[in-house]
């Protein structure tokens, strides 16, 4: 207790700025008075907040523009009349940073309790490893993560990292706090050392890989990714990292090339559809879409061709077809769409096939406003009759609806559909002809 000012230099230093201090730290009443005075001075200006109105504007710094209703605000002093004053006191405590601790004799549990209350508390006297560990365990048993971290900061400063790591390895709760703390303050070096010590190779690799997100320059990012390839990822993740590197490498080449093409203004597709954004750092599927959009017909040998991408990244058929379809439909290249699904068998007959359901094809085409003639061809290929009829009705493929009703011999439905087609249209005629036909044996 009889130490000099210098000796009292506490770890959690106190503030120079003391705007408001009481000498007696338990004098809650005087704090209340202070707050009461503050509140009473407001009485005339503050209105009741519970009348939240729909018109209120957001917090933008502009006046909120509500009516002021003097006297309607129930101040703290009003509330006091029916509640014991003491119950409010903890809420109005004086700034906790102002508390000072002049004792150096606190036990680990007292110290931890004081830390929890946000009081300034020196940890310097915990010098033996045993004391330090006792302090840490006390903090862990209290459950307060903030205090655990406070003790860890002290331990990190006063223990060599080998000893610190060794002690934390058997104390998982504290260990998790240290890892999170290191992540937050961005002490990447110590974090990697820790993972190395713990033999957590996957986290080590991922933590390193994570850094690429902070590198904006594409060339530098690419080079960084290259250094990630040899890291101890699982076999599966290694392949993903390799792909990430290859993808960015390709994107850099494509980007440079296409920017040049676009500027030159000689290529039609770039003139008609100027690029909205750079392809750098886009996902693979987006890159494939881009490539199907701008480089569809290129030979497999070029980096930007869809076929090359498909091969390099082993893109599944399903994924490829979905993406190519979306890209070609957006360009309204119906011929390409057609070719995407046409297969020839060994006899030379052509047949339409799709690795995805044709109902999906129809949806994508419709989203890209394909004309009815194109749509109905694919609606017709939908296998499930109900789905087919639904889609045909939804997208106004009259012929498909009419033919399907005929095939189902569903006179009622056909009759109902008649009201949906235009008066005097070819469709109406077709329906009438069917309805009047004596050749069909209707089921209803």
């Amino acid at each position: 207790m009889n130490r000099t000012k210098g000796d009292e230099e506490e770890y959690w230093n106190s503030s120079k700025f003391k705007a408001f201090t009481f000498d007696d730290e338990d004098d809650e009443l005087s704090q209340l008075k202070e707050s009461k005075r503050a509140v009473n001075s407001l009485r005339d200006f503050v209105d009741d907040d519970d009348e939240d109105d729909l018109e209120r504007v957001s917090w933008t710094g502009e006046p909120v523009g509500r009516r002021t209703r003097p006297g309607s605000f129930q101040s703290l002093s009003d509330a006091l009349s029916d509640t014991p004053a003491k119950s409010y006191a903890p809420e109005l405590g004086r700034p906790k940073g102002e508390y000072r601790d002049y004792s150096n004799d606190w036990s680990p549990s007292d110290t931890v309790r004081r830390l929890r209350k946000g009081k300034v508390c020196s940890l310097e006297r915990f010098r033996s490893l045993q004391d330090k560990i006792q302090l840490l365990e006390e903090a862990v048993s209290m459950h307060d993560g903030n205090v655990i971290t406070a003790v860890l900061i002290f331990l990190k400063r006063t223990l060599s990292k080998e000893i610190l790591f060794r002690e934390l390895e058997v104390r998982q709760v504290a260990l998790r706090h240290l890892i999170h703390f290191l992540k937050e303050i961005g002490d990447q070096k110590l974090l990697l050392d820790l993972f190395r010590f713990l033999d957590r190779t996957e986290e080590l690799a991922l933590s390193h890989y994570r850094e690429h997100l902070n590198i904006q320059d594409p060339e530098k990012r690419k080079e960084f990714l290259k250094t990630c390839i040899g890291l101890p990822f699982s076999a599966e993740d290694s392949a993903h990292i390799q792909d990430h590197y290859t993808l960015l490498e390709r994107q850099i080449i494509i980007e440079a090339n296409d920017r040049h093409l676009e500027l030159a203004g000689q290529t039609e597709v770039f003139r008609k559809h100027p690029r909205k954004a750079s392809i750098l750092n886009m996902p693979l599927v987006t890159t494939l879409f881009y490539s199907c959009f701008y480089h569809y017909t290129e030979a497999e040998g070029t980096f930007s061709s869809p076929v090359n991408l498909k091969k390099t990244f082993k893109i599944p058929d399903k994924q490829y077809v979905l993406t190519a379809l979306a890209a070609r439909a957006k360009l309204r290249a119906w011929h390409d769409v057609d070719a995407l699904f046409t297969t020839k068998n060994w006899l030379g007959y052509t047949k339409k096939r799709a690795p995805i359901g044709f109902h999906r094809v129809v949806e994508i085409l419709h989203k890209n406003s394909a004309p009815v003639q194109v749509l109905q061809e694919y609606v017709n290929l939908v296998e499930d009759v109900d789905t087919k009829l639904n889609l045909a009705t939804k997208f106004k493929c009259h012929d498909v609806v009419i033919d399907t009703c005929r095939d189902l011999k569903d006179r009622q439905q056909l009759l109902a559909y008649r009201s949906k087609v235009d008066k005097g249209s070819a469709e109406e005629e077709k329906i009438d002809a069917l309805l009047n036909s004596s050749q069909i044996r209707w089921k209803n």
């Binding site: 959690w12 230093n13 503030s15 700025f17 705007a19 408001f20 407001l42 503050v46 907040d49 519970d50 939240d52 109105d53 729909l54 209120r56 504007v57 957001s58 917090w59 710094g61 006046p63 129930q74 101040s75 119950s87 409010y88 903890p90 809420e91 109005l92 700034p95 906790k96 940073g97 946000g118 459950h143 307060d144 993560g145 903030n146 205090v147 655990i148 971290t149 900061i153 998790r176 999170h180 703390f181 992540k183 937050e184 303050i185 986290e203 890989y209 994570r210 599966e236 993740d237 993903h240 990292i241 792909d243 990430h244 996902p283 599927v285 599944p316 399903k318 994924q319 979905l322 995805i356």
Partner: protein, 593 residues
């Protein structure tokens, strides 16, 4: 829980007191820096602050200009700067850079940092390291509970989930314990406490410690709330992963309700500007539809619109005097209702448009199949296509997590293929996302030749089921399995329905998911309250991996009135969904307690 629809509903405690307390404390803290000052507010704190104070209050306490805390140099010319921030490292770096820039320029000003809801030692450490400790004074604004509605409090701490459930950082446990302590100080002690989960248990222990330390404060007070229930979010991830179909939940899923209000864009307001709207019981139209299944909402709104029309029409036959009465007494209310009605109709239309565009029906069908555990292959294919089409990155993840938790992990082949396709569709850096989801237990892979299952099946051949259960316990720390199917069976979460489930007249909490699933979290709460404890739920608790983590604490307190015993406070640690709130409101109405 609130029961606004029951005439005999118990009266709710006056939570607005929390707002007044927070406001008074903020004013007090601002007065600590006398004279004119500029206030820098963290973006995340603006909405909560907006709910308890307004600009004119701040001006009264000599706040001159307001700035948002963002990573830009400060333009303020004030002699005193005050920062109102969450205790985050990046804020400290920002403040330190401002102070150091001033120092370089030879400028002296006063700086004050107010941390809300509390300061962290790690923050002070950064200030110290940056050489500004002592130049800056620090204070705490213990604003940890914001009443969002008459029956809803929020801590407004979105990082709670990530910090605890992913990183294992217990920094918010003290904040929560303090908040619970405040509640018992203001509204009397809680005679009955229940809880489940590690975080719940730790918070409870710390809270009790606080009460002991400040002994006497709550003694002798009449309890206003009879029961408190603490529940860790990871006890039930499934419910949080399901698409919401009650109106308030849909509004949240579609537009994001933040801090009790929502930004309706031009497509909803049918004008050219967006509108920020508070969603709570004060909005009479909203209050009647918030807990309804979406399929009922349209009918309700159009009925309401017709009634409104009829009331407007009444003025046709009026004489001057009646007209005067009408204008002075009714017109304002009608106009208000009119405006609310058109807003919610606009919101409904917008929701419908968005949902039909992304084949919501198919999505819901898949979710229900996953919950019930049939057609897993088909659901997996649906998820795959969802990913391939680059529909929504979040929705794809949500579905994968739902598949994982309901099936105790994905089979390795599916895990690999879905992960690969996900990385291809949404970007390779999501490798990190997958790692995080695995750590949080949200998206896992069944280990091939799973040691756990191997041992389990061997053992169960030799000994009784009970012994096998014990062995599973011993392993549960190694491989936490979600056991959703078994839990679902035990707690009857999938209601058997003969014929159509009438969503207009819900018969159980399953209505919040179209009658397909009773939210697990709410079912647990219902069961525990009914049994006044965990008796008979041992098996469920074991399946939830919470054997040591379910607790009850009941004090014999004859002061608790029967009225207060009907009030229950449920605390979700790590957040809750509007569907769960609706389900609990339903439960409250049904049980009347």
């Amino acid at each position: 829980m609130a029961f606004p629809h029951r005439p005999d509903a118990p009266e709710l405690p006056d939570f607005s007191m929390l707002k007044r307390l927070a406001r008074d404390q903020l004013i007090y803290l601002l007065e600590q820096l006398p004279g004119k000052k500029d206030l820098f507010i963290e973006a995340d704190l603006m909405s909560p602050l907006d709910r308890i104070a307004n600009v004119s209050i701040l001006k009264q306490h000599e706040v001159d200009k307001l700035y948002k805390v963002e990573n830009k140099p400060a333009l303020s010319s004030s002699e005193q700067l005050c920062f109102l921030v969450r205790p985050r490292i990046k804020n400290m770096r920002y403040i330190a850079s401002l102070v150091n820039a001033d120092k370089m320029a030879g400028r002296t000003r006063k700086y004050k940092v107010i941390f809300s809801p509390q300061k962290f030692y790690a923050c002070e450490m950064v200030l110290e390291e940056e050489g500004v400790y002592g130049d800056v004074s620090c204070d705490e604004w213990a604003f940890s509970l914001l009443p969002l509605d008459v029956d809803l409090l929020s801590m407004e701490l979105p990082e709670f989930f990530r910090d605890y459930f992913l990183e294992g950082d217990q920094r918010w446990i003290n904040t929560l314990a303090q908040a619970l302590h405040l509640l018992s100080t203001l509204y009397g002690p809680f005679p009955n406490c229940y809880g489940i989960g590690r975080c719940a248990k730790m918070s409870y222990e710390l809270w009790k410690r606080l009460e002991e330390e400040e002994d006497g404060e709550t003694k002798g007070r009449r309890p206003e709330i009879g029961h408190i229930f603490l529940l860790d979010r990871d006890v039930d991830f499934v419910t949080a992963l399901c698409s919401q179909v009650v109106y308030e939940g849909l509004v949240d899923d579609t537009f994001r309700i933040k801090c009790g209000s929502v930004d309706f864009g031009p497509e909803v307001t049918s004008s050219d500007k967006s509108l920020k709207v508070l969603l709570n019981a004060e909005d009479k139209v909203f209050n009647e539809i918030r807990n309804e299944h979406f399929s009922n909402v349209f009918g309700f709104l159009s009925q309401k619109a017709r009634n409104l029309q009829a009331q407007y029409d009444r003025r046709r036959g009026m004489d001057i005097k009646q007209m005067k009465n009408f204008v002075s007494q009714e017109l304002k209310g009608l106009k208000q209702e009119h405006r609310l009605l058109s807003l919610h109709i606009g919101a409904c239309e917008s929701i419908m448009k968005k949902k039909t565009k992304q084949d919501f029906q198919e999505l819901i069908k898949t979710e229900h199949a996953l919950l019930e555990g049939f057609n897993i292959r088909e659901s997996t294919n649906y998820i795959e296509e969802h990913i391939d089409r680059q529909v929504s990155p979040i929705e794809s993840l949500r579905l994968m997590c739902l598949l994982s938790i309901t099936e105790n992990g994905l089979i390795p082949k599916d895990y690999r293929s879905l992960k690969t396709q996900y990385l291809q569709s949404y970007g390779p850096e999501h490798l990190l996302t997958f790692f995080n989801l695995r750590r949080a237990g949200l998206l896992t892979e069944q280990a091939p030749g799973d040691t756990l299952t191997a041992v389990e099946s061997k053992v169960s051949k030799l000994v009784t089921d009970k012994a096998a259960g014990k062995i599973t316990d011993a392993f549960s720390s190694l491989a936490k399995r979600s056991n959703f199917r078994a839990i679902s069976k035990k707690l009857n979460l999938i209601p058997r329905v003969d014929g159509e489930y009438d969503l207009k007249v819900p018969r159980d909490m399953a209505y919040v998911f179209s009658g397909a699933y009773v939210p697990l979290s709410c079912r647990i709460i219902e069961q525990v309250l009914e049994r006044r404890g965990w008796q008979g739920l041992d098996e469920v608790v074991r399946l939830l991996n919470c054997s040591e983590l379910a607790f009850t604490d009941m004090t014999k307190d004859d002061k608790a009135s029967s009225e207060s015993l009907r009030l229950i406070l449920v605390v979700f640690l790590g957040g809750c969904t509007f569907s769960e709130i609706s389900a609990l409101r339903f439960l409250g109405r049904e049980k009347g307690k």
